[in-house]
């Protein structure tokens, strides 16, 4: 039965899910990067009716958290179902309690983990083994895979072994490096999977489940008399695990020819130096060792597959007796330990072996850390370790791949070292997220691996932005398998798909001598050379590059593929990269086109073929001049005026050189300066807003809705216009009684994403040219320089006095400085306008607790931060704890602030005789609702501080440390619906019940946006989302009504696009209410399947159809004897479908399952009608019918 399976290309997640899905009956899931894809695939396959090896469709159930998933898994296991889950990082942490239980009950299951860093000084979505190491005490067997093929194979080995041993398995592979690497593999056939899973064992597992037909009790509580003994009962089962795993590996080998061992040794049989490690790094280590052996070195690599239970005998058998030095490398850090976990196991095993005589001598064993958060681990680092082991006194506790200039742990790598692979083609592509480069490259990998019969590997690196993100694709091709899980360092082909990168990035950093460079350039052959910076010209000449140029946009248009520049550039890649002979390459790409478009008809295929041929005619080689001639250089990324930290750290990260930043420059506790997003000037928009002062009514709507805070307004005395640039625009302010006051709307065009929400929001049309509004999108290029001058002038104008601005109107808010701006959120994001508004209203005294999700990523993912500081040095103080605990985290802010205020009040009263009774009483009793009151209090506190500084005594010093708390702190707990409705709901509910003065803002996109649009309990009835591919069957939770039931919670439902004034009112009322407040804010989102420019219109329709009624429940009104529930939106004037069917998330169901969609639409309409009736009733109730409020 042995033999090669079908060759395929896929990423590690897909390879694992392929096996896991087929061997499971129940699957409880929750999304978390980088494992989400596995859960998504399981859900998708189930919705498509794909069956497992027993012919049934697995039940796939999304849960509210990983803790919930683990609980459901535990329950399903205890009821005898073959059950699995997928997770990573924090998710695994939430599963730990159940994992102890599952293992303690000797229950067969496999958890598949895309191993990822745990959040410590910072969150990281990237891969290492910190999460898995935290699970090593659970009693789960830990099985490690190091490549896409291994992950595919060992997922099955784990399944077979868990059934045989009854010990649960955690099968893990490197997050991103394996989970997201696309590589060629041999698929295990379904029949082979079937053969690996013993049905007797499946039935035995089932029989062990709870069953009232043969009842028993499991999960008892023990006393000291028996717990310990009972805990030792499983020893023999653990002792048997290695045997079961090896047996499963052997069976797999019998079927597929791929033989694995618990410890995979590769190298010299008489090796002196050996590296021990787990995960994808083993592939790199093996290939490096092979190269060194060719050079005569006696080295080897021992890859650990089964980490727990640690099979000492197998380890000793695998390690050559000749070894005199061992380096144990780990992708984890255990601060304060004698060494990382695997190191300790190796040392203990060897020491015991020597002590018992099983081994003659004790080799020297050293440990080192590498690859934290997917830090690249290329061959030079491996060689460095082997070199270190050759020394008399090799170091231990070292680090690889960083510069540690503080505790000097790092080993210096020999960066000249390279593996010799003349058969290999390596290519890197620089693109933008939106330009389809990654998609086209994945397609190329598939074509070349599956059709042309070569091996191929693709790995994709993204920057941190959700809009205008730079992508770097690393592609390798060749006739041999590619075991190179590290980034390309010397590419034979470099493609720049966005010409603007030549100004921002060192594109040739990865170019090998003699490489081919493909430039997508709007400039022709004559002009393009001069458009390159001088240093780039130098490098091109120095490296002897061949340069090809194409204007992909123009070409796409002229060959009839308008907008599909990626197809043009893919064709160019096939033609000139040398991955295949040119004719064969073109043949393959045409074959792929035929496959893709055959069902669209011969004409479409013919047109695409023609496009390929015509593209090649438009691709030209640039005769490279012999000398660099440019007079310009890449401009610095940050201005001279930026702080030293920004220059030395932030700017280097922005340039993609963060790997070079040494330890000494990094903050020790994760603290970073605010507001660095202002330095980015990403220039990602081709079209930007231009203000028309003559049409503008100065209503402030455009700035209000701008997601990126790039539209600013100021009013100022006319005399200030002196010296203004000629292009600077202004208008008389349209307020009576201020004849000498001017108004200016300034656009930060270099920070703008060009989303166009401002133009949609603008209500003012030209009377004669109705297509022209007061703000219009225009071509940016000619505006850049004049707008730089205008901006400099605008920024020098005085900031308007907050005490004189009318906070109660949208129009007034435009004069409040945003302290949240220029984030990397999606262009047209529906969330960020609310955050910006918060920052304008309360930013200078605001604490923000931010749940993990989109808002924590665009709000705090380095290199830059969008939360800013005002001219007085004040601004929002922001932090992210976790996904699940945000309400509690924010409550902690409040508790501390209240305590500090109490301390300050006591001290002030004690010091009142010295500070002045009158001042102290004024400070203690100051009203602080309106901004003018806040400003007055600040002045009083400043005076208090002045007087305190004059006192030299302990109480005064104490009071100074908390005196700022006299200015009312505004605590905001911010997060998405995934947090508020699902994973953090318990905490949120508890916080609402505490009567503390906290404000909760739910940025409700109705899905888990950050991880790719999975359904939450906020997902509406009838909408499609990931994990609800067949359409959500249950209506969204009415969180507002639940909160209203407490009586003491201020609750508002808002939609900026429906009624911005109501949003503003709600924010201010919520903040003023001295108890808990909850605001549910409708946020349109890319995951709704809409044109984001229409986001506000969709918000308006959501309100107009009654789907998202606007209301405010203000407990203060009840206390005043009025109905606290105000319905702010009118009775629905449109039907739900008029809103819903503008969105793909609804429309796609109408297309794919028309009957279901129609039924769900009817149910949704009924729910809306009923809900609105209820709200209308409530709006008419007497105030006494509502629960009385008891604010703190």
């Amino acid at each position: 039965m042995s033999g090669q399976g079908r060759r395929a290309t896929m990423d590690g997640n897909t390879a694992v899910a392929h096996v896991a899905y087929r061997t499971t009956e129940v699957c409880a899931i929750f999304p978390i990067t980088p494992s989400s894809t596995m859960a998504e695939l399981a859900d998708q396959w189930a919705s498509e009716g794909l069956t497992n090896i027993w012919g049934g469709v697995p039940v796939v159930q999304e849960m509210q958290s990983e803790g919930g998933a683990a609980g459901a898994v535990h329950g399903a296991l205890q009821t005898g179902a073959m059950t699995t889950t997928f997770t990573a990082s924090q998710g695994l942490m939430l599963m730990l309690p159940n994992m102890y239980k599952i293992a303690g009950e000797l229950t067969a299951t496999v958890f598949h983990v895309a191993a990822r860093a745990l959040a410590t000084q910072a969150l990281s979505i990237f891969g290492d083994h910190t999460d898995v190491m935290a699970a090593r005490g659970t009693g789960f067997a830990l099985l490690s895979s190091g490549s896409v093929q291994e992950a595919h194979d060992l997922a099955l080995v784990a399944q077979a072994a868990t059934l045989a041993s009854r010990v649960p398995f955690l099968h893990f592979f490197d997050g991103f490096r394996t989970s997201h690497e696309v590589n060629t593999l041999e698929l295990i056939e379904d029949s082979q999977i079937r053969a690996m899973v013993d049905d007797d064992l499946v039935r035995a597992h089932r029989v062990r489940g709870l069953d009232p037909e043969r009842p028993f009790v499991r999960g008892t509580a023990h006393n000291p008399d028996t717990f310990f003994q009972a805990r030792e009962t499983s020893n023999s089962y653990y002792a048997a695990v290695p045997g079961h795993v090896q047996a499963a590996m052997d069976r797999l080998a019998g079927m597929t020819g791929r033989q694995y061992h618990l410890f995979e040794y590769a190298g010299d049989a008489d090796a002196e130096r050996v590296i021990v490690l787990m995960g994808s790094g083993a592939e790199t280590a093996r290939e490096t060792a092979a190269e060194l052996r060719r050079r005569g070195e006696r080295v080897g690599v021992l890859q650990v597959h089964l980490f727990r239970p640690f099979a000492a005998a197998a380890f000793l058998a695998a390690l050559p007796a000749s070894v005199r030095a061992v380096a144990v490398l780990e992708q984890t850090k255990e601060p304060g330990a004698a060494g990382e976990p695997l190191y300790q196991d190796v040392v203990a095993t060897l020491a015991q072996a020597v002590a018992t005589g099983a081994r003659a001598t004790m080799p020297r064993v050293v440990g080192g850390r590498y690859g934290l958060s997917s830090k690249d681990f290329p061959p030079p680092l491996v060689k460095t370790v082997f070199d270190e082991l050759a020394k008399q006194q090799p170091r231990t506790g070292f680090t690889l791949g960083i510069i540690d200039d503080v505790t000097h742990t790092h080993l210096d790598p020999d960066l000249t070292f390279r593996l010799d692979k003349p058969w290999l083609v390596e290519a890197v592509f620089y693109g933008l997220g939106a330009d389809g480069t990654v998609g086209a490259n994945k397609n190329s990998v598939k074509i070349i691996a599956e059709d042309a019969g070569l091996h191929a590997q693709g790995y994709f690196v993204y920057d941190s932005h959700k809009s205008g993100a730079q992508t770097v694709s690393h592609l390798r091709f060749g006739p041999n398998p590619i075991h190179m899980p590290y980034l390309i360092r010397q590419a034979g082909f470099v493609a720049c798909h966005q010409f603007s990168f030549v100004e921002r990035v060192d594109l040739l950093r990865l170019a090998a001598p003699g490489a081919t460079l493909l430039l997508n350039s709007p400039y022709g052959l004559e002009e393009v050379w001069d458009r390159l910076p001088r240093s780039m010209q130098h490098r091109i000449i120095e490296l002897g590059l061949r340069v090809f140029v194409i204007d992909a946009s123009h070409a796409a248009q002229s060959v009839g593929l308008r907008g599909r520049t990626n197809t043009i550039l893919q064709t160019c890649f096939f033609a000139i990269s040398g991955v295949l002979p040119k004719d064969e390459a073109i043949h393959e790409i045409k074959k792929a086109i035929e496959k893709t478009y055959a069902r669209k008809g011969a004409e479409v295929v013919r047109r695409n073929f023609q496009a390929v041929d015509e593209t090649l005619a438009l691709l030209h080689e640039l005769p490279v001049p012999r000398h660099a001639s440019s007079s310009w250089e890449r401009p610095p990324l940050v201005p001279d005026s930026a702080s030293e930290f920004v220059h030395r750290v932030t700017a280097r990260m922005m340039e993609g050189l963060g790997d070079d930043i040494p330890v000494s420059l990094m903050p020790v506790d994760g603290t970073f300066p605010s507001g660095t997003a202002a330095y980015e000037k990403r220039n990602i928009a081709d079209f930007v807003p231009v203000w028309e002062p003559g049409i503008c009514i100065q209503c402030g709507q455009c700035g209000f809705v701008c997601p990126h805070g790039v539209i600013r307004a100021k009013y100022y005395d006319e005399s200030r216009l002196e010296g203004a640039p000629r292009s600077f625009r202004s208008a008389p302010i349209n307020v009576r009684g201020f004849p000498d006051v001017r108004f200016t709307l300034q656009i930060y065009i270099e920070d703008c994403t060009g989303c166009g929400l401002c133009t949609e929001a603008c209500p003012a049309h030209s009377l004669l040219a109705p297509e022209t509004k007061a703000i219009n999108l225009r071509d940016k290029l000619p505006l850049v320089q004049p707008e730089r001058d205008n901006l400099a002038f605008f920024e020098a104008l005085p900031i308007n006095d907050r005490a004189r601005v009318n906070f109660a109107e949208v129009r007034g808010v435009q004069f409040l400085e945003p302290l949240f701006a220029f984030s990397g959120a999606c262009g047209g994001c529906g969330e960020t306008p609310y955050l910006k508004l918060l920052s304008q209203l309360f930013g200078d005294r605001m604490l923000v607790a931010n749940a993990t999700g989109c808002s924590s990523i665009y709000g705090g993912n380095l290199p830059v931060t969008p939360w800013m500081v005002n001219a007085e040095g004040r601004g929002p103080a922001w932090s992210n704890s976790l996904f699940e605990d945000n309400a509690e985290f924010g409550l902690g802010f409040r508790l501390a602030a209240d305590k500090h205020l109490e301390t300050a009040s006591l001290l002030a009263q004690r010091l009142a005789p010295k500070l002045g009774e009158e001042l102290v009483q004024a400070v203690l009793n100051a009203p602080q609702i309106g901004e003018s009151e806040i400003r007055a209090q600040r002045a009083l506190v400043a005076e208090l501080v002045r007087r305190l500084r004059a006192l030299d005594e302990a109480d005064a010093r104490q009071l100074l440390s908390v005196v700022d708390y006299f200015v009312r702190r505004s605590v905001w707990i911010v997060g998405g619906d995934g947090w508020a409705y699902d994973i953090g709901y318990g905490g949120l509910d508890h916080v609402l019940s505490t009567a503390r003065d906290v404000n909760i803002l739910v940025l409700d996109t109705e899905v888990y946006s950050n991880t790719g649009g999975q359904a939450s309990k906020a997902t509406p009835l009838g909408a499609v989302a990931k994990f609800a591919a067949a359409g959500k069957r249950v209506a969204r939770k009415d969180l507002a009504l639940q909160a209203i039931a407490y009586g003491n919670v201020y609750v508002a439902q808002v939609a900026m696009g429906g009624n911005p004034q109501q949003t503003l009112l709600a924010f201010r009322e919520a903040e003023a209410w001295p108890g808990p407040s909850l605001i549910l804010a409708y946020c349109h989102c890319i995951a709704h399947g809409i044109d984001m420019q229409q986001g506000l219109r969709q918000q308006d329709l959501a309100v107009a159809t009654g789907y998202w009624p606007l209301f405010r429940y203000n407990p203060a009104m009840r206390e005043a004897g009025a109905n606290p529930f105000r319905l702010d939106s009118a009775r629905p004037t449109l039907k739900f479908r008029d809103y819903a069917y503008n969105e793909v998330r609804y429309k796609v169901l109408a297309q794919s399952r028309p009957d279901d969609a129609a039924a769900l639409l009817r149910a949704a309409q009924q729910a809306i009608d009923e809900k609105y009736r209820l709200y209308e009733d409530m709006a008419g109730w007497a105030h006494t019918r509502f629960h009385p409020a008891e604010p703190a």
Partner: protein
């Protein structure tokens, strides 16, 4: 009950009333209700080639917006493929054919030669009883001649006739130099019938917002005179059948069209205004009208067409002069 049977496009109809293409006929429940209400056939909503292409493109764009852009999410919607092409209409045809006994006619509006052929074939394969070619062609390019436009109509008809076996109707607008000649030429080229007339939706301007209004204005009985004229002129001179469309609000208009020679009468606006149940009012009204006169449909059909009138001038210029001369300000 009088015999109201007739034929249109070679299809035997139990009466002349057809529910023409509108959003109503997209719904299987409505199609059933129309059959119950007495409709002799239904025309499904037009398959607009460019609309399908655009919807597919928009769907793809929305589905893949933000895809492959960020590390945490390779996409933002589940990978449910959008069935490109006239998927929903095809599905409706299939299911309608199973659900009702009356003919189900598909309507097609193409833009490219390939589009006409591909979609016509698909509609036939889905089980359409006939295909109505809704050649909604506005020659906005002033360099196009009348001859070019007429050639375009002929090309489309000939091409579609080559690939399908089911009957093909031409739904035309009135804006030809010689509508009669156009119809006869198409008739000679193989058209199995005609629907007169298609109403081109014409723009208006909103003087408050200064925007072009593209709203749909339902037809009124006042608009029946143009189709009445041409059906009356053409009746009896064609190989193919004639269906009247435009302005059918009550049984009066139905009868008028039949009197001038329509083989079938279509209505949309009235159904949109009054609901699908209105079909029964029309069918019953026609039966009552015939009953009252003791006639069957065949007795009155085309009885007032130009060919049958003793004074054919009623359809011609002389008629116009008489009307003008007879008009008095009210």
């Amino acid at each position: 009950m009088p015999d109201m049977s007739t034929t249109h496009l070679g299809l035997a109809l139990r009466n002349p009333l057809i529910a023409s293409a509108s959003p109503l006929t997209a719904d299987l429940g409505n199609i059933r209700a129309l059959e119950d209400a007495g409709a002799a056939a239904v025309v499904l909503p037009s398959v607009f080639e460019e609309q399908i292409e655009q919807e597919t493109a928009e769907h793809e764009a929305a589905l893949w917006a933000g895809a492959e852009s960020v590390a945490e999410a390779s996409s933002f919607l589940p990978a449910i493929s959008w069935r490109s092409g006239p998927g929903l209409v095809l599905e409706t045809i299939r299911r309608a054919r199973e659900a009702v006994d009356i003919p189900v006619i598909a309507s097609l509006n193409g833009t490219t030669a390939a589009g006409w052929l591909d979609y016509a074939t698909a509609l036939e394969q889905a089980g359409a009883s006939a295909i109505e070619l809704n050649v909604y062609f506005v020659p906005a390019d002033p360099s196009l001649t009348g001859g070019d436009v007429e050639a375009h109509y002929l090309d489309v008809l000939r091409a579609v006739k080559r690939v399908v076996r089911v009957p093909v109707a031409m739904k035309l607008g009135p804006y030809f130099s010689a509508p009669g000649d156009m119809v006869r030429t198409l008739d000679a080229a193989g058209a199995d019938g005609f629907v007169l007339f298609n109403r081109f939706y014409q723009p208006d301007i909103d003087l408050v917002t200064l925007r072009v209004q593209r709203d749909l204005v339902l037809s009124t009985p006042a608009e029946i005179r143009l189709p009445l004229l041409w059906i009356g002129v053409l009746a009896g001179s064609l190989r193919g059948s004639l269906a009247a469309s435009t302005g059918v609000e009550s049984v009066d208009e139905v009868v008028k069209y039949l009197l001038v020679g329509a083989d079938a009468v279509m209505t949309t606006s009235a159904l949109l205004r009054h609901g699908v149940g209105h079909m029964a009012t029309l069918v019953d009204g026609l039966a009552a009208w015939l009953d009252a006169r003791g006639a069957n449909l065949a007795d009155i059909k085309a009885s007032m067409s130009r060919a049958r009138l003793r004074d054919p001038g009623a359809y011609e210029r002389a008629n116009y002069i008489r009307i003008l001369q007879g008009w008095r300000p009210g």
